[in-house]
């Protein structure tokens, strides 16, 4: 299974990654991170194919993808 490393302490909750994930794996959580944003989380790890579209679209380089 692919592995996402989400450095959610630097996420700004813009939800661009959520919008463009073709498998709808991601979601904006209701936690607050140290920056005061609601960071992204992996909602459905089983569905993730490791395509890295989320990582490429993210303006903050929050996500790393390993396969």
């Amino acid at each position: 299974m692919p592995k996402l490393v989400i450095r959610d302490d630097r996420c700004k909750g813009c939800s661009i990654c959520v919008e463009f994930c073709p498998k709808d794996c991601l979601e904006i959580t209701d936690r607050l991170n140290p920056l005061g944003y609601r960071p992204v989380g992996l909602r459905d790890p089983e569905a993730c194919t490791g395509c890295a579209i989320c990582a490429r679209m993210c303006p903050e380089v929050v996500i790393e993808v390993w396969k």
């Binding site: 939800s15 463009f20 944003y37 490429r56 993210c58 303006p59 380089v61 390993w66 396969k67």
Partner: protein
């Protein structure tokens, strides 16, 4: 496990100061990927501009000279001419490149300076609070055109890529966007081509990237992303406007 996507080595680990959803972050990353791809990190010097990208020196693990507003092409000309073995790129916003620095970019392009230019067009002066730029679209409200830009008073949005592509000194000119995964892939290629143009000594490699400024457009990040396709691309068509081929080197 193998990496599918990891942070480019040419970016430092410092988090960006950009607003949520701002495309400056994506564009910084593309440039860092190009530096890594061509293995030029140890010999790269950038000339940064004034605008929201003013902290370029904090985010890239390279040498950066901060230029006065609009003057990055002149600063970069000096760096490249005195250090022709260095790889030199400029990163400028549209207020910087297409307003106060119009003379510098046109003449650097016309002289065929062997530089790579990353031009970030977000249709406003971002850093100073969203004033009208020469690139602001007709009808677009800004803090200095509260009823929308009107051509009778403010003129038309300027198309820099089309203009510069006509100059003999320009080896490569393209306009791209980073609002969808497919366009992002095209943008990455264009940034790489603008790097190669300098490495092959074919004159200026110029890439204009349509970029979002959610804060000064008064939009949420995803609305701002959608505005690029809805309003910007129809007026600023994407594509490669000039590509000097192998044999016709400058």
């Amino acid at each position: 496990m193998k990496p599918v996507f990891v942070r480019p080595q040419s970016l430092t680990d410092k988090p960006f100061h950009f607003c949520p959803g701002c495309h400056h972050g994506v564009i910084h990353r593309l440039v860092a990927e190009a530096i890594d791809r061509f293995g030029v990190r140890e010999r790269t010097i950038a000339a940064a501009s004034v605008g929201c990208s003013v902290f370029l020196y904090d985010y890239f693990d390279i040498d950066v000279v901060e230029s006065p507003h609009g003057r990055a092409p002149a600063v970069a000309t000096g760096i490249k001419r005195t250090n022709p073995d260095k790889f030199v790129f400029i990163y400028q916003g549209d207020g910087d490149l297409a307003a106060i620095g119009t003379a510098e970019i046109i003449h650097a392009a016309n002289r065929g300076e062997n530089l790579t230019v990353v031009f970030v067009n977000n249709t406003v002066y971002g850093m100073t609070g969203g004033q009208m730029a020469p690139t602001t679209l007709l009808g677009q409200p800004t803090t200095t055109s509260p009823y929308g830009r009107e051509f009778g008073q403010d003129g038309y949005p300027i198309k820099m890529t089309e203009m510069l592509a006509q100059l003999e000194g320009v080896g490569f000119a393209a306009r791209v966007a980073v609002d969808t995964p497919a366009r992002l892939a095209q943008a990455r290629k264009a940034v790489f081509r603008a790097f190669e143009t300098q490495l092959e000594e074919k004159g200026m490699g110029f890439v204009e990237i349509l970029s979002s400024c959610p804060t000064n457009w008064g939009m949420k990040p995803l609305e701002a992303v959608r505005r690029i396709e809805r309003e910007m691309i129809p007026y600023f068509p994407l594509g490669v406007y000039k590509e000097r081929k192998g044999s016709d080197a400058l």
